[in-house]
């Protein structure tokens, strides 16, 4: 298939509040797209709509060749999501959490896969500790492991660097780069201009629910100026 994500006139309204308006987005397979934008721009809403957690008010979303209608259960096996919530169960250990998701996603040989993915994010000896004892950064790393446990084709990562110390952040960059090299499609939102543009094939700016700008990532310096201009403009 040509494109992993095809969003047409995507809109999301929460009663009176407009989260997204008229978003047209096409993400080819294998592309790494970083979306920037000020707080409240709709980045999380966009990720949630793509992750099938939220239902668009208007417009359509096609993921991996499948139109997202109300019954989109199967497509979720191919999506990995990292968001502000960890989606981890505090009373269970990291291993139990990862095993649960691995089994739900029908991963073959779940025990081995859990060990592999825990190794990837360097959970180390904390694997059998309850998640509620974890620090913020450790929770985030475990959440990333959870998102990767079923080897998804599409990664939707909402501000994945938040809460990570420099070492963990560098590790995440490696993980994302490896996923990208392996052919996964990645859509990431971030406040980190440097890392976001380094990793990306294309960069975009979301402002007040609309896709204000999108361009190839190669020309970073121009983009930074563009971004600042768009954001300050939007604040007037």
């Amino acid at each position: 298939m040509q494109a992993t994500i095809v969003a047409r006139r995507l809109g999301k309204r929460f009663g009176g509040h407009v989260g997204l308006a008229d978003v047209d987005l096409e993400v080819p397979t294998g592309e790494f797209l970083t979306i920037f934008g000020p707080n409240g721009a709709g980045k999380t809403t966009l990720i949630r709509c793509l992750a099938t957690l939220a239902r668009p008010t208007t417009g359509t979303v096609e993921l991996l060749g499948t139109m997202l209608t109300r019954t989109a259960a199967g497509i979720r096996s191919r999506i990995g999501v990292v968001s502000h919530q960890s989606f981890l169960y505090g009373q269970l250990t990291a291993r139990e959490n990862l095993l649960f998701y691995a089994r739900m996603f029908a991963v073959e040989q779940p025990d081995e896969r859990v060990l592999a993915v825990a190794d990837l994010v360097q959970l180390g000896d904390r694997l059998d500790d309850q998640v509620r004892t974890f620090s913020r950064g450790l929770v985030q790393r475990c959440a990333i492991a959870r998102a990767l446990v079923h080897e998804p084709d599409l990664l939707l990562f909402d501000e994945p660097f938040s809460g990570l110390d420099p070492l963990a952040a560098a590790r995440l960059v490696e993980i994302l780069r490896a996923a990208h090299d392996a052919g996964s499609t990645v859509v990431m939102t971030s406040h980190d201009l440097r890392r976001g543009t380094e990793l990306a094939d294309r960069v975009a700016v979301l402002r007040r629910g609309r896709l204000a700008h999108i361009q190839p990532a190669s020309t970073t310096e121009n983009f930074e100026a563009t971004y600042n201009r768009l954001v300050t403009e939007g604040q007037q």
């Binding site: 109300r70 999506i79 919530q85 989606f87 505090g90 009373q91 739900m104």
Partner: protein
């Protein structure tokens, strides 16, 4: 992988988490015990026919204990966004309803068994030969509470005034269930068994079936954002 297998995984996960902390279970049991205690002082059991009043006391303890349990379970889900984690999985939203109902049912019946034991001890109520009938009534009543409670708790946790929203929604709608359960339990405690109470049993079954069906069908609409 079948839906049944996934439901089983979710229920196992819920139970594992609950057994680890036992928070919801112990607080429910203690709360039910407190209700029994209050009623002992509110009514003098000596001057009342216990088989009549006893059924009411028991079901009030069950009802308020279950509301506590529902609030607790749903609140945990909300904090870690656990229910949303399940929504990321390739499982139908309706299956999630079944899983949540099952988890809640298992939790509640465990608490109810303990509450019933305490009730029998404190109020000296003979249950004797009709234990099977009592188990049936408690099971049917709990199913109804669970069918409605899962729906309403999922809603109320996402609203303001959440603690009061759940009982406000649940109790008026569950009145027929309560009436049926109290009447049949009263018969059992009085030693008459369920012979004359078949219409109540039928009402319970109809109630359970109706609200399980409605809850099942409407659950996806609740989980959308």
């Amino acid at each position: 992988m079948s839906a049944a297998r996934r439901i089983a995984l979710v229920v196992a996960k819920d139970l594992r988490g609950e057994l680890r902390t036992k928070e919801a279970l112990t607080s429910t049991i203690f709360f039910s015990l407190l209700v029994l205690l209050v009623f002992n002082f509110a009514f003098d059991p000596g001057t009342r026919d216990l088989s009549v009043v006893g059924a009411g006391i028991l079901w009030i303890a069950f009802l308020f204990g279950s509301i506590l349990a529902m609030n607790r379970l749903m609140l945990d889900e909300r904090q870690d966004a656990g229910l949303e984690g399940l929504m990321l999985c390739p499982v139908e939203r309706t299956s999630l309803y079944v899983a949540k109902c099952l988890s809640l049912f298992l939790l509640l019946t465990t608490a109810e068994v303990v509450t019933l034991a305490l009730f029998v001890v404190f109020f000296n109520v003979p249950v004797g030969g009709h234990f099977g009938s009592l188990a049936l009534v408690v099971a049917l009543g709990t199913i109804g509470l669970v069918a409605l409670g899962t729906t309403f708790a999922t809603m109320s946790v996402r609203t303001r005034t959440r603690e009061v929203m759940l009982p406000l929604l649940l109790i008026p709608i569950a009145v027929p269930l309560l009436i049926a359960c109290v009447e049949t339990t009263g018969s059992i405690l009085a030693g008459r068994g369920l012979a004359e109470e078949l219409h109540w049993l039928r009402l319970l079954v109809a109630f359970d079936a109706l609200f399980l069906a409605l809850g099942y069908v409407t659950f996806p609409a609740l989980l959308e954002e």
